[in-house]
């Protein structure tokens, strides 16, 4: 009896350990920093994609003006996307103030990407991303995914180093100096190895599980639609209705079996990847090829087939969040060595390189 009890206690202890290991193992911050830089670049590209049309897209004198917002709030019927808060509303009808906000937002995203005062710029980045979801007439689903990424990066950077970082008061408020891209070159005397972070792990875990919820919900939604079961879901974006004619469809009849065979197969591979995602996402080794290879193929597919620019990079970034610290270290070391070899190759004069290579060749022959 007592033996049983001790076994049960040990099992609970193991489960507790697994829980603690999963959520509260302190990890190096390399992954979080890489994710921040890549996400920041995506946010900047996203905001820059509005350049030239930002007033029309988002200001209260634009495509959806103040009067329309008022009308929408009083309408009983639902609209495609809810209207929430946005800092851009503060600009009112002032185009100058709106432009200041747009360029200020871009500056904030840039500073966050570079790692400057990440605790402050992290929160502001989330505010910026969410604020640019303001117009339900032109917002699409990919935009909302960016808000998720910005939210977790904000949480991660708010927690980073608070428990374990040995930070100054300024760093506790603004963010660690080590967050800044290129710290080693900027502050060589202060460049020490970053301490491990509980916050970085917690943030990564939250993002991972949220992404699993997204992937599973999406695949279960696909299973409710006959086009995915019939394997023809990818046919529609490849055959835009407004370009199709009766004649073009008759011409396509000759290759229909081949086309539908491969499109059906691809569609089912997409379903399989999504359905099995939680089973391989946390595994290492060659499973990483399936995780990241699938995400990259998804990016290509989302962009070239569906013409959707944001789903792909979002998926790749979320898949990167599953990488373990040692894998991030491996990647950054590889990139550093490639960078170093390129830099050395460039700095060495061509005349010097030839004799070394020739000498080596001679030695090998001998």
């Amino acid at each position: 009896m007592s033996n049983d009890r001790s076994n049960a206690g040990a099992e609970i202890g193991l489960a507790g350990n697994a829980w603690t290991r999963f959520w509260f193992t302190p990890i190096p911050t390399t992954g979080l920093h890489c994710l921040r830089v890549l996400s920041g670049l995506l946010f900047c590209a996203w905001l820059l994609s509005f350049l030239g049309n930002q007033v029309g897209f988002f200001s209260l004198t634009g495509w959806l003006d103040a009067e329309a917002y008022r009308e929408l709030q009083n309408q009983p019927t639902p609209i495609p996307a809810p209207i929430g808060w946005s800092m851009l509303y503060l600009a009112g009808n002032s185009v100058a103030l709106f432009q200041t906000m747009y360029w200020g937002s871009l500056l904030i995203l840039l500073l966050f990407t570079l790692g400057v005062a990440t605790r402050i710029t992290g929160v502001l980045t989330w505010v910026v991303v969410v604020s640019f979801l303001a117009n339900p007439a032109i917002t699409y689903e990919g935009d909302y995914m960016l808000a998720i990424l910005a939210f977790y990066l904000m949480i991660g950077h708010l927690m980073l180093g608070q428990w374990n970082g040995n930070l100054s008061i300024a760093e506790r408020i603004l963010g660690a100096r080590g967050d800044i891209v290129g710290t080693r070159w900027l502050f060589p005397q202060a460049a020490t190895e970053q301490p491990l972070s509980h916050g970085a792990n917690l943030m990564m875990r939250l993002l991972q599980i949220h992404f699993v919820i997204i992937i599973l919900t999406s695949v279960l939604h696909k299973f409710q639609l006959s086009d995915w079961w019939a394997g023809v879901a990818l046919w529609y974006p490849l055959n835009p209705t407004l370009q199709a004619t009766r004649e073009s469809l008759i011409r396509a009849q000759s290759s229909r079996e081949t086309v539908l065979f491969f499109l059906g197969l691809t569609g089912y591979l997409v379903l399989a990847w999504q359905l099995a995602f939680p089973l391989f996402a946390w595994r290492t080794g060659w499973w990483r090829g399936i995780l990241l290879g699938g995400a990259m193929l998804g990016w290509i597919g989302a962009f070239f087939i569906f013409k959707l620019p944001l789903f792909g990079p979002f998926t790749v970034l979320c898949c990167l969040s599953f990488l373990r610290p040692e894998e991030w270290t491996w990647i950054t070391d590889r990139l550093r060595s490639v960078w170093t070899s390129i830099a050395v190759g460039k700095s060495e004069p061509a005349s010097k390189k030839v004799p070394v290579a020739a000498g080596t060749e001679t030695n090998i022959k001998k």
Binding site: T61, T77, R205, I213, T217, R256
Partner: protein, 255 residues
């Protein structure tokens, strides 16, 4: 991770672990329930004779009651809307659109002459702008709403006129026009479609914007829509008429 580097971390206190666990699980649970609470389908149903809905047909099914109750009463108003995590991950791109749409805007001067015609999505616009224009056009997509039953005949208050109702009036198989009609008009005795309030607001707002931008006195928007082509058309193409666009005139609007 090397054991030496792990040793440098201060242990995380149990109290903080519990607090973080509760917050993390609570957050993810709310997100999961929010996704679960959404409608599913369309499903085929057959419920037999009843007073609430047709005995059989195709319909969306609401999410489970526990998920909906938590979502409607708490998650949506107090959590996902303030955090702007309002997407439920039932992606529109998973679903085939019923129609494809583009629209033209005729900008006019005070005399009603057409100054300029603009097409959206604009073939010459950059990929990014065109993408947003496509989203805007798709927001105007049919099907239009079926007009609700009018009920008893309405009578105007003393000295006042009855408000008019805007309905889509078919001119031919490929043209319809949004027209205001009197509440007492015979047209309302038949079943008609109306533009959704969302589409009307969007059209009015966008035309106001274009008039301001181009200095036009008025503008008219015409929506061109076509039913989505199907893989079935590869086997037995539908009649030529199916591939013609339906022109829907939203009427002239002044800013």
């Amino acid at each position: 991770m090397s054991p030496s580097s792990t040793a440098r971390a201060r242990p995380f206190p149990l109290g903080l672990q519990v607090a973080c666990s509760v917050l993390a699980v609570g957050h993810l649970l709310l997100i999961g329930l929010f996704a679960l609470a959404q409608d599913s389908g369309p499903w085929w149903y057959d419920v037999g004779p009843n007073d609430v809905m047709p005995p059989s047909g195709v319909n969306h099914s609401p999410g489970p009651v526990f998920a909906r109750a938590i979502t409607v009463n708490f998650t949506e108003p107090y959590y996902v809307v303030p955090l702007r995590m309002t997407h439920n991950y039932h992606f529109q791109s998973n679903r085939r659109p019923d129609y494809s749409v583009y629209f033209e805007v005729f900008l006019k001067n005070e005399r009603g002459d057409v100054l300029r015609t603009l097409k959206f999505p604009d073939d010459k616009a950059s990929f990014w702008v065109r993408h947003r224009q496509e989203i805007l056009a798709q927001n105007l997509s049919p099907p239009d709403q079926q007009m609700p039953p009018r009920g008893n005949e309405k009578v105007a208050a003393g000295g006042k006129d009855l408000p008019k109702v805007e309905i889509w009036v078919r001119e031919d198989a490929h043209t319809k026009r949004l027209k205001p009609v009197e509440e007492t008009d015979d047209l309302l005795r038949e079943s008609h479609e109306v533009a959704s309030p969302w589409a009307k607001t969007l059209v009015k707002s966008y035309l106001r914007y274009l008039c301001r931008e181009h200095g036009a006195a008025s503008a008219e928007l015409v929506r061109y829509s076509r039913r989505t082509v199907l893989p079935l058309d590869l086997y037995a193409p539908r009649p030529e008429d199916t591939f013609k666009e339906l022109k829907s005139y939203f009427g002239e609007m002044k800013p």
